[in-house]
């Protein structure tokens, strides 16, 4: 059986409104950013009737690609479409 890893994830804006400012997600070791997003999108669908905007994911304060592998202890953040300026 693949060992699983618990990841703490920070959320912002509409994603924070729906799932809270921080969640813990348990994924198989070696899981990727895309796997995390799939898990969170399933959770969001059960809590919100309106679909949330597709977010980016940041690992250790840098944008990460969907195939980036999550490591234990990474600082993970869900970044909805930004709107600064």
């Amino acid at each position: 059986m693949t060992p699983s890893v618990k990841h703490r994830v920070q959320l912002f804006a509409s994603w924070s409104d729906t799932l809270g400012p921080e969640v813990e997600v348990e994924l198989p070791a070696g899981a990727r950013v895309a796997d995390l997003l799939e898990t969170l999108e399933t959770q969001a669908k059960s809590k919100s009737i309106t679909p949330l905007p597709r977010p980016s994911v940041a690992l250790n304060q840098r944008y990460a690609k969907p195939d980036a592998v999550l490591a234990a202890g990474d600082e993970i953040a869900i970044i909805p479409p930004v709107a600064g300026g």
């Binding site: 912002f12 949330l52 840098r62 479409p81 930004v82 300026g85």
Partner: protein, 143 residues
């Protein structure tokens, strides 16, 4: 070069003074302000929030890119967080350069990259009491 997230009113002319240099023949100042309507809805104010540690890191990265790309160290940017009312400044960017074209290009680069990359969000407040997160195309996104 300096970038900062701040929670007090911005002082754009202070930023202009900060980038002044006798080697510069051009100084530019861009100020983004809260306007009274968006997509036909009357706006009363905007809450700005951020993933602060990453926002600060990303602001710094963008300013460093501008310094390298346009060849001036005289770049200062401040972005305000919190609740802003109409007409208040949310961002101020000051650049000075030997030449005007490079100063204007650098400033344009910084604002466009900020809007695409810095993890800051705005929630508009409307006259009817409704609130909505907005994206950088100006549209309301799901709440």
């Amino acid at each position: 070069m300096r970038t900062a997230l701040v929670d007090r009113p911005l002082d754009p002319t202070a930023l202009l003074a900060e980038v002044a240099a006798v080697s510069s023949g051009a100084s530019t100042l861009f100020v983004g302000t809260v306007r009274r309507s968006n997509q036909g809805r009357a706006v009363t104010g905007i809450d700005y929030s951020a993933y602060a540690p990453m926002a600060e890191a990303e602001m710094q990265r963008i300013a460093e890119e501008a310094v390298a790309r346009f060849g001036t160290p005289h770049v200062v940017v401040e972005h305000r967080l919190g609740t802003l009312t109409l007409g208040e400044a949310s961002i101020a960017i000051a650049v000075s350069h030997e030449r005007r074209a490079a100063a204007m290009d650098a400033q344009r680069y910084i604002i466009e990259e900020f809007k695409a990359r810095v993890p800051i969000w705005k929630r508009e407040h409307y006259v009817d009491g409704d609130r909505a997160w907005v994206d950088n195309q100006g549209g309301a996104v799901a709440v």
